[in-house]
């Protein structure tokens, strides 16, 4: 065993491949290996137990391949534009994605972005924060990261397809109860503080994205926007801590219950999404 230590790595890899590809009978393999070990030839490796470390999964590649997710900026808004314009924009977006890996993330995930900056030392600057909003369509798609540094709240709006962005890392992939977390500006600072040296958490390649059902506690009113009003439809705030039931009822005066029945405001994107998703996956795999 010790004599064949050098060749172990190479043959370990090839053996593992053989096992995976050919799906041979284990007993057959192990017995053959035993026999060879008895023979003592230097080409075949002797019987060894594989180490119990986990298989190294390339997280950036596997996540995209197993969970099919279409980034929201690919879906065109409902406008009177020629679909050809969206097609050309999509081609440019895919070209950029082939160079820079833009991972899947949602509002509420924690990201680290390295951007090229001529004025920074080392020419790059890195910012870590919670994504509070994803906006824009096409090449101008943006996302806003928020963090609290030295008791000062900082929000930076990055453009996904800007060539100045060198790397986007998802440190923690999770969803929240809302798509837009702008209310974190009026929440207690503990909910926005993200450690700049946070280590990336392992992301499961299959299954649903975990939803964090956290209800955030707010600072005393006045807030930057009246988040209790039904037009924002916020699920992620603990209103009972900051508002009385009378105030909640008063906010319901601005409810527009007829909007859910308005057929002209419906925009069904399911078929479009499928088409675009298949097109994007095809182009990315080329």
């Amino acid at each position: 065993m010790a004599a064949c230590g050098k060749g172990l790595d190479k043959f370990m890899f090839s053996l593992r491949l053989l096992r995976n590809l050919q799906l041979q009978n284990e007993r057959f393999l192990s017995t053959s290996v035993c026999r060879l070990a008895v023979g003592g030839s230097s080409e075949q490796p002797p019987k060894f137990t594989p180490p119990s470390k986990p298989v190294i999964v390339d997280k950036t590649q596997t996540v995209a391949s197993t969970r099919s997710h279409l980034s929201p900026e690919f879906i065109p808004p409902r406008q009177r534009t020629n679909p050809f314009k969206f097609y050309i924009e999509r081609k440019d977006m895919i070209r950029r994605r082939k160079v820079l890996n833009i991972p899947e993330f949602y509002a509420g995930s924690i990201l680290a972005v390295t951007m090229a900056d001529p004025n920074a030392s080392g020419k790059m600057n890195r910012f870590v924060g919670i994504c509070i909003q994803r906006g824009g369509h096409g090449l101008g798609a943006t996302f806003v990261l928020r963090n609290i540094i030295d008791n000062q709240g900082v929000e930076i709006c990055y453009e996904l397809y800007s060539p100045r962005i060198q790397q986007i890392e998802v440190l923690k992939l999770e969803k929240r109860l809302d798509d837009n977390l702008m209310y974190l500006r009026d929440a207690l600072p503990e909910y926005c503080t993200v450690d700049p040296d946070m280590k990336p958490e392992p992301i499961s390649p299959t299954g649903e994205v975990p939803v964090n059902k956290l209800k955030v506690r707010m600072r005393p009113k006045p807030w930057s926007k009246r988040w209790e009003r039904p037009k924002f439809n916020i699920q992620g705030i603990r209103f009972d801590r900051s508002l009385t039931p009378e105030q909640m009822e008063h906010a319901q005066k601005w409810a527009q219950p007829w909007r859910e029945y308005d057929m002209l405001k419906e925009y069904d994107t399911s078929k479009l999404e499928e088409q675009i998703l298949s097109e994007v996956q095809r182009e990315m795999s080329k």
Binding site: T81, K85, I88, E89, A116, G138, S162, P163, R164
Partner: protein, 297 residues
């Protein structure tokens, strides 16, 4: 607009125009549509073939000569980043089926310069008048939605029927784009001319968006002609000058032009070279993309 005396004898007649397929049977309608589509394809294919069609002679470029422009369709706006990282917004213009339709010589046009009539997007022949159709038929080209004239110097004349493509322009050149601005209808003086209006409170009685005074007092004792007043706004030809071309996509004939452009999405525009010496990048070769290279695309 006519003066009142002309209107005295005019009686409003009932117009009897209908759409082309109202009195045709269904098979005939289908047949008409199919034949016109096939004819279009045949016509465009003909024009691409250099053997059938002898282009006119290409001349050398001289200082002060003018080239034809293009007719393009406004697609939408996208951001574009330069190599240094600056972000600019550009409008995408697609050159769809741009053909030269007619050549007007100096005498026909205005006595000073020759002109070329260029047409844009293909459109159905059923709603065009006979005189228009005659012009298109002479050029051997399907009827176009927008037809414009470009003043052209003598050494830049092109044979009617030649297609024009986006490769006519290179990145770094400057263009003027003319289009009909979005019609806003009858608008008040604040939106139309940018007047300040009056305050919302502090006792203003029913006066918040009115023009206010209309001129000086007793001496002229009249309102001058051209006084800015409410009226129809928009739907007029507006030109945006000196727009830089950032990118040209020759496969799909798309031009990426700096900044915003008048007109709504999918409207037809007239694109010309910008002639201010400070901004011109002189291309020392001439005229459009030769027909042979167009066919190989």
């Amino acid at each position: 607009s006519r003066s009142p005396s002309h209107l005295v004898g005019c009686i409003r007649t009932v117009k009897t125009t209908t759409w082309f397929d109202e009195h045709l049977t269904e098979d005939n309608q289908e047949y008409m549509r199919k034949t016109t589509a096939e004819e279009y394809r045949r016509q465009t294919a003909e024009k691409l073939n250099p053997l059938k069609d002898e282009p006119w002679q290409r001349h050398e470029w001289t200082e002060g000569s003018r080239r034809v422009g293009l007719v393009a369709v406004k697609l939408g706006m996208v951001p574009v980043w330069s190599k240094t990282g600056e972000r600019h917004v550009v409008t995408m213009l697609q050159v769809q089926d741009c053909h030269v339709i007619k050549h007007l010589s100096k005498e026909e046009f205005d006595g000073h310069t020759a002109a070329l009539v260029v047409g844009g997007k293909n459109v159905s022949p059923f709603n065009r008048s006979e005189s228009q159709m005659e012009m298109f038929r002479n050029a051997g080209v399907p009827p176009k939605q927008k037809v414009t004239t470009f003043k052209v110097s003598d050494n830049a004349l092109i044979k009617p029927g030649t297609p024009l493509y986006a490769a006519h322009y290179r990145p770094g050149q400057y263009v003027d784009v003319t289009a009909k601005s979005i019609g806003k209808g009858f608008q008040g003086v604040m939106k139309r001319w940018g007047f300040k209006g009056q305050p919302a409170t502090h006792g203003q009685t029913k006066t918040h968006r009115r023009p206010g005074a209309s001129g000086p007092g007793g001496d002229p004792a009249k309102v001058f002609k051209g006084k800015k007043m409410p009226g129809r706004m928009g739907n007029v030809y507006v030109t945006a000058h000196g727009l830089k071309i950032w990118r040209v996509n020759t496969k799909y004939n798309v031009l990426y032009v700096n900044g915003s452009i008048p007109g709504h999405k999918n409207c037809l525009l007239k694109v010309k070279r910008h002639t201010r010496a400070s901004l011109c990048m002189h291309l020392f070769m001439f005229v459009c993309f030769p027909v042979r290279e167009c066919a190989s695309q």
